[in-house]
């Protein structure tokens, strides 16, 4: 336990909870790790907002690494940008919604919703915790959008504003319609059941006939909103299907609704009977319930991101040695831009500065920065590490090597690879069978009793209405979606489950997908390292944040670090240190003066040099992801496997040995090559699943039947895909695929179950024996039993596949 009195434990920053090192600031009886944190505290204390600190301990984020330039947000003064970002504007007030990734605790909500205490021009602010969004209403005469964003970022809550925010002028409205329809259907259904009570107990005379008539008429009135409002989506979908000469699930549903409604009207007004209005209400209520159950969304995840979600909204442009911040869309070919440390290069451009170190992890998944020299072309999507660099734009941001992918025709198709759901194919057969039976029953009775013939015809349509049939799919898929979600595999929608079940070909990206940068394999070649040397290296790499340093640091484990007299990191080159009056260098070939060509290609080399003598080098290759070999071996039995890589082929041999020899490897693949490769596989009739991680896989993910983006941090970067897989669940891929196949079997089994009900119902109906009471019992029983069956079956399969863990008793 940390107690404030124990002196050996370093003090934690009052604002962010990070360890305060030598530069600790003592202010107002509290310790702060940096000026930024203290500043935030000061602002809050001045405005009497210190409740922020009492709701959660150390809720803030360290302000150490934020270097803001005063002109950073200048682009927010641009009228065009402003009008696109604002949700609403009138003479006095503006409304704006920001995405703030930092929102993580109750304190965040509290502070952000009390912004009006800091600046009186903010009239209200409201946080959506799950989506990490805040809607702010402010008086734009007194506070500009730019000042508002500046205020937020002073508090540490800098909104993330991306290029894509400018695009969607019409923000997708939240789907409230289905829920409203469910409310209406529930209301009508409940009341109709009440008014049908006398019918259910028709054997017992509860009330006089006058009431029964009134109740029947009330049922008709209550059925109107159901038929004309709640069911409207089904009419549209069925009509669209019929127009395209297809039969989908909604066609028999609509047939049922019409038969129900018209026949009940006839029964009530012409015959003086009760009709089936309550069953009609129940049908719609359960159908809508199933629809909502299937619509599970992972609100924090975005599946449709393209490069615009990663690119900044504005860049720093140099005009006659003066910096100005301009919106990215206004950037012209030939402009000179300034890209600082950790900033993204927004367009293919030529390097004007002497050298740069570009981290392409965004694009390829490889996180070791690539050195670039003056005059080299740098592709968009890279991130500069180190000093600020100057570039001149060669292509507009939407036309680059990477972003050109999105101009490919694959992205034109709205609904990619339309696969007919299982339910639709069955419902075609189903509809024709039911119609045939109804017609046969009609002709059978026609000779004897015309009245009975009409009754048999309509009741067959009514009872065969695929209530249970149409409920098995949404509930099975909805439940599968939830079980996948618990296993950290997030699907875009329920239709993906069905596609997943049909997959027979798996395509993997190599870097970042099969291999894991954090799981590097390191060989040391040269003069054996003494314990002392190891200590020196440990101390040196501990000072650097370079990915290769981190890997060597991990490789050395808990080795004690030596005390160095002097140490300095040359960004992108290596580390220079002095130890016991000896000069030690650790870094690239050029840094130690060796020629890289003398060594085996592949992987990264880090040289260790003491007093101008190279003692040896580390050979660092990105290793396979944990369990990757086991997963691949398991998958190779049932699927045909392919690997696509943008790298050179020097690793092919070692990879084949580590994995399975039957895998087809393809190296030197550009983003477009990857897309075309998937296209060729699809043309050959393969059902493809692509697993990738970087923006360079975006085309292949789009073209494949199921595109799975793999990521270490689920809410962070992932290209557009059908599903997002948390990297730690990589080992479960075989189980996920098997489970998708199981859920397809469950759907088929529940179809069998509902056919059973239909056979019973229809056999009664053709004999003209169906009564409102029987109908009122049969309909809900069949629906509910199917729902229970699918739920139990999917959970059971989930436990068997190890995707649901039962808690130990």
């Amino acid at each position: 336990m940390i107690t404030p009195n124990s002196p050996e434990i370093s003090t934690l920053c009052f604002h962010c909870g990070e360890k305060c090192d030598s530069s600790k600031i003592h202010f107002d009886d509290k310790d702060f790790c940096c000026q930024g944190c203290q500043l935030v505290y000061e602002v809050l204390a001045k405005n009497d907002l210190c409740d922020y600190y009492s709701l959660e301990a150390q809720p803030g984020k360290t302000q150490k690494n934020t270097n803001r330039s005063s002109i950073q947000f200048d682009y927010l003064d641009d009228e065009d940008v402003k009008s696109k970002l604002l949700d609403f504007q009138n003479e006095r007030e503006s409304h704006v919604t920001f995405f703030i990734p930092l929102i993580h605790c109750a304190s965040c909500i509290w502070l952000l919703e009390n912004l009006f205490k800091i600046n009186a021009s903010i009239t209200s602010s409201r946080v959506d915790f799950i989506k990490k969004k805040i809607q702010i209403k402010f008086l734009h005469d007194k506070l500009s959008l730019k000042e508002l964003v500046q205020l937020l970022s002073t508090l540490g809550y800098e909104p993330k504003i991306n290029l894509s925010d400018l695009d969607k002028k019409s923000k997708p409205a939240i789907d409230r319609k289905t829920l409203t329809k469910l409310g209406v259907a529930g209301f009508c259904f409940g009341n109709m059941m009440l008014f049908s009570m006398p019918e259910y107990f028709s054997e017992v005379k509860l009330l006089g006939d006058g009431f029964k008539r009134l109740f029947d008429y009330l049922n008709v009135v209550l059925a109107l909103p159901i038929v004309f409002y709640a069911a409207s989506d089904y009419y549209v979908s069925a009509w669209n299907a019929v127009r395209q000469r297809r039969i989908n699930m909604d066609v028999p549903i609509v047939l049922g609704i019409i038969a129900f409604f018209l026949y009940s009207l006839w029964e009530i007004f012409a015959m003086g009977n009760a009709g089936y209005m309550d069953s009609l209400g129940g049908l719609l209520f359960f159908l809508l319930l199933g629809k909502i159950y299937q619509q599970k969304t992972f609100a924090t995840l975005e599946f449709d991101r393209d490069y615009k979600s990663y690119f900044p909204i504005a860049v720093t442009r140099m005009v006659q040695n003066r910096e100005e911040v301009v919106p990215l869309v206004n950037l012209q070919v030939g402009d000179v831009i300034l890209v600082r440390d950790e900033e993204l290069i927004p367009a293919d451009s030529l390097l004007l500065s002497d050298q740069a170190h570009i981290d392409y992890s965004f694009v390829t998944g490889e996180e070791v920065p690539v050195p670039k020299r003056k005059g080299e072309l740098i592709y968009a999507g890279g991130r500069q590490k180190g000093n600020a660099i100057l570039l001149t734009i060669q292509k507009s941001p939407s036309q680059g090597y990477l972003t050109d992918l999105w101009n490919n025709e694959s992205f034109e198709k709205q609904d990619k690879k339309l696969l007919e759901p299982l339910a639709n194919r069955i419902s075609g057969v189903f509809t024709w069978t039911v119609l045939t039976i109804a017609v046969l029953a009609f002709f059978f009775w026609m000779g004897k009793d015309l009245n009975l013939a009409v009754k048999a015809f309509t009741t067959v349509l009514i009872v065969a209405c695929p209530c249970a049939l149409s409920m098995s799919t949404p509930f099975t898929l909805g439940n599968t979606l939830r079980i996948f979600g618990r296993g950290k595999f997030y699907l875009k929608n329920a239709a993906v489950v069905e596609r997943l079940a049909l997959v027979d070909t798996l395509v993997f990206d190599k870097t970042g997908t099969l291999t894991d940068p954090a799981n590097a394999s390191i060989h040391y070649e040269g003069e054996a390292l003494s314990e002392e040397s190891k200590s020196i290296i440990k101390a040196m790499v501990g000072r650097s944040t370079h990915p290769l340093s981190n890997r060597i640091n991990l490789w050395l484990g808990q080795h004690p670090a030596a005390k160095l007299d002097q140490v300095e990191e040359k960004k992108g080159q290596g580390i220079w240190a002095v130890y016991k009056n000896q000069e030690v260098r650790l870094g690239s070939a050029s840094f130690v003066g060796a020629s890289e060509n003398d060594f085996a290609p592949g992987g990264n080399l880090v040289f260790f040099q003491v007093e101008e003598v190279v003692l040896g080098y580390f050979h660092i290759q990105s290793g396979l992801r944990e369990n990757a070999d086991l997963v691949v071996k398991e998958l190779a039995e049932d699927f045909s496997l392919h690997v696509l890589s943008g790298d050179h082929s020097h690793e092919e041999g070692s990879l084949k040995r580590a994995l399975v020899p039957t895998i087809r490897f393809n190296f030197n693949q550009s983003p477009i090559n990857k897309l075309d490769y998937l296209k060729r596989l699809n043309q050959k009739g393969a059902n493809t699943l692509m697993v990738g991680d970087g923006l360079n896989d975006a085309g292949a993910l789009q073209e494949s039947m199921v595109g799975v983006a793999i990521t270490d941090r689920v809410s962070h970067f992932s290209p557009a895909s059908d599903a997002i897989l948390d990297a730690e669940s990589f080992g479960k891929i075989p189980s996920f695929l098997a489970f998708a196949k199981d859920s397809r079997k469950i759907i088929k089994a529940s179809f069998g179950l509902s056919f059973l009900y239909n056979i019973v119902g229809i056999s009664l109906a053709v004999q003209g024996l169906l009564s409102p009471v029987l109908c009122a019992i049969l309909m809900p029983v069949s629906s509910i039993s199917v729902v229970i069956f699918t739920t139990l079956a999917t959970n059971l399969m989930g436990v068997r596949k190890g995707l649901i863990h039962l808690k130990a008793p």
Partner: protein, 62 residues
């Protein structure tokens, strides 16, 4: 038994007014975000006049 006619009318009026309230709540967006309000309700309202020297600590809300 004729009183049942009145009761039916009353029950329908009641049910319809609940449906109307549901519509209003829907339009207000009460069903859009189910998580934040559950956190928000735990915040204490600060008294209007607060002591500048000693910021008012909210009582623990367990």
């Amino acid at each position: 038994m004729e009183v049942i006619f009145v009761l039916i009318a009353v029950s329908l009026v009641l049910a319809v007014s609940f449906l109307f309230l549901f519509f209003r709540a829907m339009k207000d967006g009460q069903f859009d975000d189910g998580v934040t309000p559950s956190i928000r309700i735990l915040f204490e309202n600060q008294p209007k006049k607060s002591n500048k020297d000693q910021p008012k600590k909210s009582k623990s809300y367990e």
